[in-house]
């Protein structure tokens, strides 16, 4: 048995009191009976450490609203209400729920719970309109997701051969393209804000621990932990690091040769004649994997097709922060009217994946998808839509307590002082977050009866799509109309 990949989570309390979903007030006629502390499984209620006879103030941010304490309190002296600032967290995409559960996972490393029942949407836009199939739910529960049955989350970055040719002596004649193994289908993308050295330090430590990668903007000259002090880029250390330098406008500005020599993989901004640079890099360091960063936008499938035929092994498709594609696409609605609308990565990823499958070149390229990956389930859903792996950004900041208040974008003070984050602490919070995400991925895979995440790619049969259900349910109703039109 190969050694199991395991993420060790260590509870890491927040530095600032997080904004809770609920507020709980302990009334004056509390008799310190301790019932609340017994029934609360989230450690909201506890006895005072210095005097066990009295109850401590409730740690309200941990409350999941399960109402146990409210129902069980013999004196009916506990009051629960919505947290005052909670609804103001984030925005319509990065909902308070998302931010809050990511905080929870970063603190505890545990799979989030929703308290009094799951009130999931089961409908809506983007990933919300997809439900993963859990019909084999018996499997992981047999002895848990970390049980005897090993579920692999390893993905390969690079080209995969459809077949291998041997010569008459049994020697392999096909050139085997080099691939990079990542133990989980999540890498760290560049941050939209909060690009402080200690934040990067935390990311680098976490990426290194997790054995995954982080993409850094080559212009920012980020170097691995401790290298800046030495003032010199040391090759040996660079190879150890888990960096993917991102080079913008390589055709105009060129690139730093050191980066190419040092890294296993580089990412180039997509330009029409990017292939020239790619060839240059390949000559410089044939071992380097090259990813081209292509925006989800008009004709993205065409660009991917073109790049794949040109021999690019990795394509990083990115949407905006909210998972919306750039530019507007032509859409036909049910009544055959066309209009322009920006799509979501769920649909665009499917389009690209389908296109490559139709061309029978899907395995020639690895697709990294990013933009709006906010929860563990988004990773699985993006993969079902056809991604090989995902890159995440904002959740990493949430791990560092970011409230997505956007103060920093207006030059206001950061309420959680991101700048002063201790990178050890930050790294552990990120590790906890990813640990929790991976466990959820394992649960999903286990429940589907899959034993490796690579099998999940494009497995649309393992998901239910709202639009398909709507079609199946309502098409009969509308079909008559359509056929009538046809006859007419």
């Amino acid at each position: 048995m190969p050694k199991k990949y395991n993420i060790e989570v260590i509870p890491t309390p927040p530095r600032h009191t997080p904004i809770g979903k609920f507020e709980i007030e302990r009334g004056a006629d509390c008799i310190n009976c301790g019932r609340c502390a017994i029934v609360c499984i989230y450690e909201v209620h506890k006895r005072q450490e210095e005097d066990l006879r009295s109850m401590a103030e409730p740690v309200v941010y941990r409350c999941k609203g399960c109402f146990s304490c409210i129902q069980e309190c013999p004196r009916a002296t506990l009051t629960i209400r919505d947290g005052t600032d909670y609804s103001r967290l984030g925005d319509s995409y990065w909902t308070p729920e998302i931010i809050n559960t990511n905080w929870y996972q970063a603190e505890t490393g545990k799979i989030p719970v929703s308290g009094a029942g799951y009130r999931g949407p089961f409908s809506g836009e983007g990933f919300d309109s997809m439900w993963t199939d859990m019909s084999e739910i018996v499997r992981p529960t047999r002895d848990g997701i970390h049980g005897r049955e090993y579920i692999s989350t390893v993905v390969e970055i690079g080209r995969k051969l459809p077949a291998i040719k041997f010569d008459s002596h049994g020697e392999i004649v096909s050139p085997i393209p080099s691939t990079i193994n990542v133990p989980l289908p999540i890498i760290f993308d560049m941050l939209p804000f909060g690009r402080f050295e200690n934040v990067y330090g935390a990311m680098a430590k976490a990426a290194s621990y997790l054995d995954t990668f982080m993409i850094v903007d080559a212009r920012e000259g980020f170097m691995g932990e401790g290298q800046k002090a030495k003032g010199k880029r040391q090759k040996a250390r660079w190879e150890e690091s888990h960096l993917i330098p991102y080079i913008t406008q390589p055709t105009i500005h060129g690139f730093d040769v050191d980066w190419i020599n040092a890294c296993k993989m580089v990412e180039l901004e997509y330009e029409e004649d990017v292939m020239g640079v790619v060839n240059e890099v390949k000559t410089l360091n044939p071992g380097t994997s090259i990813s081209v960063r292509v925006p989800f936008g008009d004709n993205v499938a065409g660009i991917v097709e073109e790049l794949t035929y040109a021999g690019i092994e990795v394509i990083h498709l990115y949407a905006d922060l909210n998972g919306q594609t750039f530019g507007k696409s032509l859409i036909k609605n049910a009544s055959q009217q066309t209009f322009r609308k920006s799509l979501l990565i769920k649909d665009m990823t499917q389009n690209v994946h389908r296109h490559l499958v139709d061309l029978k070149i899907r395995d020639d390229v690895t697709l990294i998808v990013s933009g709006g990956i906010a929860m563990a389930e988004h990773v699985a859903k993006a993969i079902i839509c056809g991604a090989d792996l995902t890159a995440i950004d904002l959740p990493l900041l949430f791990a560092l307590e970011c409230r997505y208040c956007k103060n920093c974008q207006e030059d206001l003070a950061c309420p959680v002082e991101l700048k002063d984050v201790n990178s050890e602490w930050g790294a552990q919070r990120m590790i906890n977050l990813i640990g929790a995400w991976r466990n959820q991925l394992l649960e999903i895979l286990g429940a589907m009866g899959l034993r490796e995440v690579r099998r999940l790619r494009g497995e649309v049969g393992r998901a239910i799509f709202l639009e398909n259900i709507e079609k199946e349910t309502f098409d009969n109703v509308f079909a008559r109309e359509v056929s009538h039109d046809a006859n007419g």
Binding site: I31, N32, C33, G34, R47, D51, L52, R53, S54, P74
Partner: protein, 611 residues
């Protein structure tokens, strides 16, 4: 000797009883609610051992052992009487029966319940509540035990309608000093002997109480009347009118004045008043017609307030902390004359008295004369104390009998019982308790330390002339010795230690007491320790540690008859003890975890909201 007795008893009963021999704890069992400073000089009030039997079997073994050894036994309920009925007189064993508190059997059809006598009336009512059954009459000290009320008075709330306690009990199980257990039915002639005889003949183990359907309503009405005379005329009229009140209670003007002071608002009129409670709408309407023109009906909310307060009768009055009371059962016809005579006498002594009376039958009233004194000023206090026998003696002239005997009313035993009854009782005592191990040296006759020389005073023939002397002397002394009232009381604790009247209501609702079963954790006894501490007496760490076994739940505060600010006091007391002994962290941890894993505790917590 205590050591060996302890070992032998422990061998005998094993886990079935708890044997307590700590100095401070034994001291706690040396008193009841009466403050009698000279009690220790007359008697060995501190028992050698305290035993809490948990089963009849264990109790039997202990009783047999005591009988063989001729060791005195002092059974004890919640000690909320004040005449010394549970106070040890010689070195011996106190039997704390509070653990024998099982509700044995409820018969919903016959509407009876069999209970062990250690059960508290309040707990019993809580138990009956979901069955829509209720107690008939119950004592105004609602937190006291069933056994306690059997052994002492037997009159309380509802006695007008349901009569004396013995009329509400079908049968009792009694354990005699020989260890023999006997079931006695109410029709047997032996039955009545166990009521009001303060544990002289046997230990009442269990009783079958008659119940009734929970009344749908409580309709109290308060009527203001011009004088005590008017009030008793009104009451007599009410009785003759054959209305069916559940309870009738008279209160004098100073009682209502005290309540006003206590509430800080002039809610009640400053008049004498009668509180009548009905359970049937029809009867209440008839009553209102009856009362029309005879008195002034008070607002409903005032009547309801007083009705609710019936279970919290002992409010603090004035500046002085120690209440003294004289309780007598007196013919209604003579009540006013007696009250007038008593008032004249007390006025001469410079004492303000307050009167309450429960009408306990068609022609008898239980009169309670209460006045305040200060135990911190021994001379005044002793003078005030000696008023009680004078008042009792006065009551006898008006056909009254003392409500209880205990130690301090022994001189009146001949007045409570006629010669024939007393002779019968003496003979019965000899028959069932030949070695005189149950509550010796009280009730029938007092025998004190020092060859009983002080005890001679308690002999009725000597006592009467003494009273006559005091009746003349006290008015002079009383005026001279009026309390100075210049005690400096800085902290809440200092303010309230002397105000506790040890009624024990707090013990009934104390979760710490429930969990630990230790007398020393009850609020009243914590205040006793505080009193010692403040007086500069030595306290051991063991006793200090017990003080910390408290959840600061404030339940004691909620039921405190004197409305003492107990929880603040606990914080102060703990601070004092912490500076001297430190907080017992391990004991606290054990306490909290025992508490949280105790089923009884959770049952208690969920029931407690009803209080």
């Amino acid at each position: 000797m205590a050591e060996t007795v302890k070992t032998r008893i422990e061998e005998l009963v094993g886990d079935e009883a708890r044997v307590i021999d700590g100095d401070f704890e034994r001291e706690l069992y040396s008193m009841d609610i009466g403050e009698v400073p000279f009690a220790k000089r007359l008697f060995d009030t501190t028992p050698e051992l305290v035993i809490m039997p948990k089963s009849v079997d264990a109790l039997k073994k202990i009783v047999r052992f005591a009988n063989d050894e001729k060791a005195a036994l002092f059974p004890r309920g919640s000690a909320s009487s004040g005449l010394g009925g549970v106070v040890p007189t010689v070195k011996g064993i106190v039997l704390d029966l509070s653990s024998m508190n099982k509700i044995v059997e409820l018969n919903s059809e016959k509407e009876t319940v069999k209970v062990q006598t250690g059960v508290r009336w309040s707990d019993l009512e809580d138990f009956l509540c979901p069955e829509t059954l209720s107690l008939r009459a119950y004592p105004s000290s609602f937190f006291s035990s069933v056994g306690g009320w059997i052994a002492t008075g037997g009159y309380g709330i509802g006695s007008y309608r349901f009569g004396h306690l013995k009329d509400q009990i079908e049968s009792i199980d009694v354990m005699f000093p020989s260890g023999e257990v006997k079931a006695i039915e109410s029709k047997e002639k032996e039955f009545a002997r166990f009521f009001g005889t303060e544990g002289q003949f046997g230990i009442v183990l269990s009783a079958v109480l008659k119940l009734r359907k929970t009344p749908e309503k409580a309709l109290p009405h308060l009527i203001y009347l011009e004088s005590a005379e008017d009030a008793f005329v009104f009451i007599t009229g009410l009785i003759n009118a054959e209305l069916k009140p559940n309870h009738i209670k008279y209160m004098d003007v100073s009682h209502l004045e005290e309540i006003n002071t206590f509430l800080g608002e002039d809610l009640f009129r400053l008049k004498d008043a009668v509180l009548v409670e009905f359970e049937e709408e029809e009867e209440a309407t008839k009553f209102c017609e009856f009362a029309e023109g005879r008195g002034i009906l008070a607002d409903d909310y005032l009547s309801n307030y007083l009705w609710h307060e019936r279970l919290f009768p002992m409010k603090k009055r004035g500046n002085m902390p120690t209440p003294l009371a004289c309780e007598m059962v007196i013919p209604i016809a003579n009540a006013v004359s007696y009250l007038k005579a008593a008032e004249i006498f007390l006025k001469r002594c410079g004492v303000d008295v307050e009167v309450e009376s429960h009408i306990v039958g068609k022609d008898h009233a239980l009169l309670m004369l209460t006045y305040m004194s200060d135990v911190r000023e021994p001379r005044t206090y002793l003078t005030h104390m000696s008023l009680i026998p004078v008042l009792t003696r006065l009551g006898l002239k008006f056909g009254g009998v003392p409500y209880g005997i205990g130690i301090w009313n022994t001189p009146f035993i001949n007045d409570k019982y006629d010669t024939k009854t007393l002779e019968l009782y003496r003979a019965y005592k000899k028959e069932v308790d030949p070695h005189n191990i149950l509550n010796p040296n009280k009730f029938f006759a007092v025998k004190t330390k020092m060859a009983n020389i002080p005890g001679i005073m308690f002999k009725p023939r000597i006592f009467r002339p003494l009273i006559r002397i005091s009746a003349t002397v006290i008015p002079i002394l009383g005026k001279l010795a009026s309390p100075k009232g210049d005690h400096k009381e800085e902290s809440v604790l200092e303010k309230i230690v002397y105000s506790c009247i040890k009624c024990g209501s707090c013990a009934a609702v104390c979760p710490a007491y429930l969990v630990t079963n230790e007398e020393s954790v009850t609020p009243k006894n914590k205040l006793y320790l505080a009193k010692k501490l403040l007086a500069g007496d030595a306290i051991s760490k063991i006793d200090s540690d017990k003080i910390f076994l408290c959840t600061h739940c404030e339940m004691c505060r909620a039921v405190c008859q004197n409305d003492l600010d107990l929880v603040t006091a606990w914080t102060e007391l703990e601070k004092l003890l912490e500076s001297e002994f430190g907080a017992p962290e391990e004991a606290i941890r054990d306490f909290v975890s025992t508490m949280e894993s105790s089923e009884d505790y959770w049952r208690f917590v969920y029931n407690a909201q009803k209080i």
